[in-house]
């Protein structure tokens, strides 16, 4: 018992964690209804992407030469494109590509951000100085410029995009993690673990990292939206995931060729993209309000309590 009290690494049990998730969802739905809407949109998109092959009425590259550029009908709910492919099916498979790119590139970017951020923040000194100048220099190049230049070198392709997006956003995001690390490393518990002789590695990964999870999670949601949008932008420019893979940006690009004959073709992928970005952003905002300790209780509940007290 006594040992347990003094152990600084006692992990909350699984039950406790589940309880926290339930509590979080409860707060999300009660305090942030808009965020809950976002979470639902996000979940729908995830499931659509995951079960695309069950949901899509046709294959994403099923060409019907006799059904080119058809208007929406009972057979093709959203019409067909220039090759006679069902637009709805391509939108559904597009969700899968957005999700694959979004999650893998975001995960990679977060790993890079955390790795650079916590080490520069924790160790400081010359290493920090040099890394910060490097990050500075990297950030003077607009993300889109770096992305299209890098793609011109590696050539287009799904995993090339993921890698480049992850790298670009990862370096930029390291600032936020570094900032969080700088303030966390001055906490008494970190000094305490240092005093009892914990190694740097242990301090970093057992004490600092778990305590900066809030900014990491927030960074994840904001990055996810940005990454999905960036992939769409690049596919729109014809520099993203190459056809025939269905991507929302790529579909918008293809639709430009027939924009005056079949204007509806440029509507659907845009709507899907807007909904997805909207959902993730709104959910991310709610998440930030609920997770960031400085905002805990939230500005709105704070002003509510003032309003009630006066």
């Amino acid at each position: 018992m006594a040992r347990n009290t003094f152990s600084m690494d006692s992990q909350p049990s699984l039950n406790k964690k589940m309880g926290a998730v339930v509590k979080f969802l409860d707060r999300l739905f009660r305090e942030k209804p808009l965020g809950a809407v976002g979470a639902v949109i996000f979940l729908i998109m995830l499931l659509t992407g995951f079960f695309a092959n069950f949901l899509a009425p046709y294959g994403y590259n099923e060409i019907n030469p006799l059904e080119m550029l058809k208007a929406p009908s009972a057979q093709f709910w959203l019409g067909t494109d220039a090759l006679g492919r069902d637009v709805l099916s391509r939108i559904i498979y597009g969700a899968r590509i957005s999700m694959i790119v979004g999650f893998s590139a975001t995960t990679m970017s977060i790993l890079i951000s955390v790795l650079i951020g916590i080490t520069t923040g924790f160790f400081g000194g010359k290493y920090d100085l040099i890394m910060q100048r490097l990050v500075d220099s990297w950030m003077i190049f607009p993300g889109l410029v770096v992305l299209i230049v890098a793609i011109s070198i590696t050539g287009p392709g799904l995993w090339n995009i993921v890698f480049i997006l992850g790298l670009t956003y990862g370096i930029a995001g390291s600032r936020i993690i570094r900032g969080a690390t700088l303030s966390t490393k001055e906490e008494i518990y970190v000094h305490a673990s240092n005093a009892i002789g914990a190694s740097s590695f242990r301090q970093l990964f057992r004490h600092i990292l778990p305590n900066i999870m809030a900014p990491v999670i927030i960074l994840f949601t904001t990055r996810l939206a940005a990454v999905i949008l960036a992939e769409a932008t690049m596919s729109f420019l014809g520099l993203g995931v190459p056809p025939p893979t269905p991507t929302w940006g790529g579909m918008l690009n293809e639709a430009r060729g027939y924009m005056l004959q079949v204007p509806l073709l440029s509507i659907w992928p845009g709507v899907a993209l807007t909904l997805a970005i909207y959902g993730i952003n709104v959910f991310g905002d709610a998440l930030r309000d609920l997770l960031d300790p400085r905002l805990r209780g939230g500005l709105s509940s704070y002003s509510d309590s003032i309003a009630k007290s006066t």
């Binding site: 100048r133 490097l134 500075d136 003077i140 889109l144």
Partner: protein, 318 residues
Amino acid sequence: MRTYIIKRVLALIPTLIFATLIVFFLIRMIPGHVIDLMLSQQDISADKVTRQKIEHELGLDAPVHIQYLRWVSGVVLRGDLGRSLWRQTEVWKDIKTRIPVTAELALMSLMISLLVAIPVGVYAAVRQDTMLDYIGRTVSILGIAVPYFWLGTLVMIYPALWWGWSPSVELIPFRENPLGNIKMFLVPAVILGLFMSAVTMRMTRAMMLEVLRHDYIRTAWAKGAPEKIVIIRHALKNALIPVVTLVGIQVPTLVGGTIVIEQIFSLPGIGLLMYDAVLQRDYSVISGLMLFIGLIVLLINLLVDLSYGWIDPKVRYK
């Protein structure tokens, strides 16, 4: 102030050195490969002579550090950004002729974004939780969610279908027809401006809400200052500082946006030059442009930093 400026400019030197390294190694990461890509792109048979010739022209036959030094000294000493691999034109001249288009687009977009974001942000904060606040906030969230390239495409389609109106494809020079020129840039600038205004509006609103709770605002109210004075002179001036920072942060987004917008509306600016260079894999144009864009972003951020002293009397540079 002067010593601050000198210090700030000196601090740019390491950033600049790293920036040239990034451009250099990003482009030259796979030198042999680059030539293969270029040759396959242009359907030139890759015989030994052309290969060596291109290698020599690119200076790729020298050791890497010599290549780097050669390139950097060319840029620094002679302002020489190299020559286009295909057109043989000087990259700097290509950029120079295209600066006005992109500068006009970017400035107009920035102005529109501020003209929308600041009044709406201030109003939403002053009248918090009213209908207008909700509308402003919803629109700003949508402004972030609706991809501007989609909006750009829609603008190309629907006005053409409904009213037979489509944006001009040919550049109208300002000197010949100022009104036509502004009209031409207005639509792309509004699209890019609205996209950027969303974030600025949210920031303005949040900052105003924070500032409006301060004691000096209560004092201003208490001494009977009219609302206009309280809001604009006391609150807005203090709320604007983070907004100015945000505008500095948005500059890369703005530059990235011009690439897409120029491509949609076929405006012959720097963005389109970059896009075409990427499609043609014209690596000397790409590296020259990248460095140029980086420099511009760096300079604007320097100006933003220096402007704090002017906006915020609390900031005194020593």
